[in-house]
């Protein structure tokens, strides 16, 4: 082919990237039906043309030589290719027999992060209720839902930090350059406009390099710092009295509660010097209400996660930064038809797994808890759970206590995994079905911060490689639940979904840069109630109190502080993200491995000296669950606290979740404490 014809044949499709959860606008350059290049869409408000190297690797993903393209069935002689229709028939028959033998609740679904945008979540919720079980699970029980609970029990919604217009940005336990790449340029634009950046993190993260105030906090003590900030701001008498008086509940109780969080106590508990606390408060005071706190995954993996997050939200609350430009916006969503069946088929008579232990979690998220699923499978309590359809999740690597996860999932009578690759979880399946990548499906997507919606484009399809809608449609029709799946395909579903919005699919197609579905309105609370149970911003939550939890965001020390154990002198933080990897994903792309070839435990130079180890030496890291062997990387002495070590998850050859626990959890949201694990570390001898 000559250069001229190549250029002539080149077309550019605009859609969204799903190589991580940032969902940047991308240009997909195609020659015929083949993707040849991916770069950022300059017109998309979310990322304004910029993209990270993960985004370009969409090409690696879609054309990976090890991508699963045929349905596979596990047999005694290994994996056998099987026709899609036959696989669906066999799966449907097995589901019917499981339901007959063990009851409707014995089936469940698990939505993962790897293969589509948000739409599949509600399709799965619809499917599982349509076939009579309430057991919808997802990766959100280890990531995101904890923040949702923390945020929404204070302000009613998952608020959006308005970075671009903010004058003071506080980032708690999040490293945007690696985890949410595009948030970085928003923060940096704000900085260039004079905003101050405060980063609170035990690690000097990539983002913390640019902090005006970097706060190196002891793991899982953020709630104490937040209360200390609230106490000092009130002492400085800079709180927003008008907002507090008219639009909040529980201020006096909060004020009384935080009085014990003196700078001296905060310094002792969190390691944050009182001078730093003072500087933070002065910075907030000068800039409020154009200030916003943004909480990352770091805080939801605390034993006291929800309350630590609520404590942070109280800072924005007393300063009146909610729903003001440059503050913490309460977004409005696209008005679509409802896919879920919680009104029609609530199925509360079958106890949703985890709803008894974590009732608030179920009430606010309508989601079962993966922390309870493994015990349910293994113990058959409260009832037998025998069949699971899991889509694009990899809990054998990403849920705590991997050994238990493997044992439980391996024990199922039917385990169907929809995947692009042979993951550690897929290896446990009875059937693996090839899943459509994000280029091979079309979904209605929202960027809540900008209140814009983007329709992702199905660029091509492969035979027997289905999207989630088509798969669940075909299965539901085999299971007598076809009435709930009347739309022929996801395109038809999309037409139905947008009906109430007044926006047509054609309009969305004409705006791949994002269609503003409703203008942003500030300070909606002046005329409308907050979406909390009380209708006000809840410093003290009657809703939580009615469920038997403390109404205030009480602080409790992590156990490595309250009950230190001499045999486990180190505190292990897990899950800090690396640039090229996305949880357990992308490890099969060769050039990503070139960039970051090995797992590592990040360790302070003083601890390395104590242990007698140098870079690349192997150490054994042991918790009360198990141990793993992993090479050492000694950080700069400012990059991590002495006594604290960090291991990133996702590495098959040093899977940190073999030593994390599913038993030490937050009492409200059930999230595992993966950011403060007590461990010991020993140098491995060359022959050991």
């Amino acid at each position: 082919m000559t250069v001229e014809t190549k250029l002539k044949d080149r077309t550019v499709k605009q859609t969204l990237c799903r190589m991580c959860d940032d969902h940047c606008g991308i240009n997909v350059h195609m020659e015929g039906n083949k993707i040849v290049e991916i770069d950022g869409n300059k017109d998309h408000e979310w990322n304004r043309g910029r993209l990270c190297v993960k985004g370009r690797a969409g090409i690696d993903l879609v054309y990976a030589p090890d991508r699963i393209m045929k349905p596979l069935k596990k047999t005694e002689s290994g994996w056998q290719e099987i026709g899609l229709e036959q696989a669906l028939d066999e799966i449907a028959d097995k589901i019917k027999s499981i339901k007959t033998e063990y009851g409707d609740g014995s089936m469940g679904v698990w939505k993962g992060e790897a293969i589509g945008f948000g739409q599949q979540e509600n399709i799965y919720r619809r499917f599982i209720h349509a076939i009579g079980s309430p057991n919808y699970f997802s990766n959100d029980t280890t990531c995101y839902a904890g923040r949702h609970l923390g945020y929404s029990t204070v302000s009613g919604v998952y608020y959006q930090s308005d970075f671009d217009h903010s004058q003071c940005i506080m980032i708690w336990g999040s490293n945007s350059p690696h985890a949410h790449p595009n948030v970085t340029q928003k923060i940096m634009r704000a900085k260039k406009n004079g905003a101050k950046l405060i980063v609170i993190d035990p690690r000097l993260s990539t983002l913390a390099r640019k902090a005006d105030i970097y706060v190196q906090i002891k793991p899982a003590t953020d709630g104490a710092l937040a209360h200390g900030i609230v106490r000092r701001l009130i002492e400085m008498n800079v709180q927003n009295d008008t907002f507090i008086k008219d639009y909040t509940i529980g201020y006096e109780k909060l004020k009384d509660y935080v009085q014990s969080f003196t700078p001296e106590f905060v310094e002792k508990e969190t390691g944050v010097p009182s001078a730093t606390l003072e500087l933070i408060c002065e910075t907030i005071a000068k800039r409020a209400p154009q200030m916003t706190s943004y909480v990352g995954n770091g805080l939801e993996h605390h034993e006291n996660g929800v309350n630590n997050i609520r404590a942070v939200c109280c800072i924005d609350g007393i300063m009146g930064s909610y729903d003001v430009k440059g503050g913490s916006l309460l977004p409005e969503y696209l008005n679509t038809n409802t896919l879920t069946l919680y009104d029609e088929l609530p199925l509360k008579h079958i106890q949703p797994i985890g709803s008894e232990k974590y009732p608030v979690f179920y009430d606010l998220r309508q989601e079962c808890h993966t922390m309870m699923l493994m015990d349910t499978i293994l113990s058959e309590k409260p009832y037998p759970f025998k069949g699971l359809i899991l889509s694009g999740a990899n809990p054998a690597m990403t849920n705590p206590n991997s050994a238990k996860v493997r044992k439980a999932l391996g024990n199922l009578d039917l385990f169907v995994v929809r995947e692009l690759f042979m993951t550690e979880t897929a290896k446990l399946a009875d059937y693996i079905l090839p899943a459509a990548s994000f280029f091979e499906r079309t979904e209605i997507h929202g960027h809540a911060l900008h209140q814009i919606t983007t329709l992702t484009e199905r660029l091509f399809t492969y035979p027997e490689v289905q999207d989630e809608y088509q798969f669940l449609h075909d299965l539901a029709h085999r299971l007598g639940a076809g009435d709930y799946f009347p739309w022929e395909n996801e395109e038809a579903l999309n037409e139905w979904l947008v009906e109430p919005s007044g926006i047509s699919i054609d309009e969305l197609k004409a705006h791949p840069e994002g269609f503003p579905y409703t203008p942003i309105r500030y300070q909606k609370y002046l005329t409308e109630p907050f979406k909390t149970a009380s209708g006000k911003l809840d410093f003290a939550s009657k809703y939580l109190k009615d469920f038997g939890y403390s109404e205030l965001p009480e602080y409790h020390s992590p156990r490595y502080i309250s009950e230190p154990k001499t045999e486990y002198p180190y505190t292990l933080v897990t899950g800090a993200r690396k640039l090229v990897y996305y949880h357990s994903r992308n490890f099969n792309f060769k050039r990503f491995k070139t960039a970051i070839p090995t797992p590592e435990v990040e360790i302070h130079p003083l601890d390395a000296k104590k242990l007698g180890v140098k870079d690349d030496d192997l150490v054994k890291v042991t918790s009360d669950i198990d141990s793993i062997d992993i090479p050492v990387r000694i950080t700069h002495d400012q990059e991590i606290l002495p006594g604290v070590v960090q291991i990133t998850h996702g590495w098959q050859d040093a899977n940190v979740n073999l030593i994390t626990s599913d038993k030490i959890t937050d009492p409200i949201d059930g999230f595992p404490a993966m950011k403060s694990i007590e461990v010991k570390i020993e140098k491995k001898q060359a022959n050991g």
């Binding site: 910029r50 990270c52 190297v53 970085t184 004079g194 390099r209 640039l579 060769k590 070139t594």
Partner: protein
């Protein structure tokens, strides 16, 4: 001409620029093959990305005994023709900024060519520290930024302070 400008005040040192450049050169993520380098100094919490400035009087071009270095008439980029390059490393010695590296696989010199006028590193810079802009615009805004910094250092004595403090 349009050049790649770098703003260390917002560079986070994430290395997306290095990896994306390496990908253009080698279809791989080998940071040492990148024509843009980003250095991180933890003791000062300082990151700085650096690439070729495409000098008006490029010493590398003048010194090259093989006449392998020339200015691209369309983009004004100073480019190395790796077919002509003898691998003598004179250009590396001549460059006052260390912006030419030795391509160890091909045994020739390697440097930024502005990707033919649409630099990949800029498109993959997630912080916005890299921009591709007309040099006059760039230096004018840089002078303002520098003025501000000098004002802060000499006038206020502490980078934590600004006009509100």
């Amino acid at each position: 001409m349009k050049i790649v400008t770098m703003d260390p005040s917002i560079c986070v040192g994430c290395k997306n620029c290095e990896y994306s450049c390496s990908f253009v050169q080698k279809k791989d993520f080998v940071a040492k093959d990148s024509n843009i380098k980003v250095n991180w100094y933890p003791e000062d919490r300082f990151c700085i990305p650096v690439t070729c400035m495409h000098c008006q009087e490029p010493w590398c071009l003048e010194v090259c005994p093989a006449n392998a270095i020339s200015r691209n008439e369309n983009t004004q980029a100073v480019e190395i023709d790796q077919e002509k390059c003898a691998g003598c490393k004179m250009c590396m010695l001549a460059c006052p900024f260390g912006n030419i590296h030795f391509d160890t696989n091909n045994k020739v010199s390697g440097k930024c060519d502005l990707c033919g006028g649409d630099p990949t590193c800029v498109k993959f810079c997630i912080s916005g520290a890299l921009q591709f802009e007309e040099e006059e615009d760039a230096f004018y805004s840089k002078r303002l930024v520098l003025d501000n910094k000098i004002k802060k250092i000499l006038g206020k004595g502490n980078s934590e302070n600004d006009s509100r403090d």
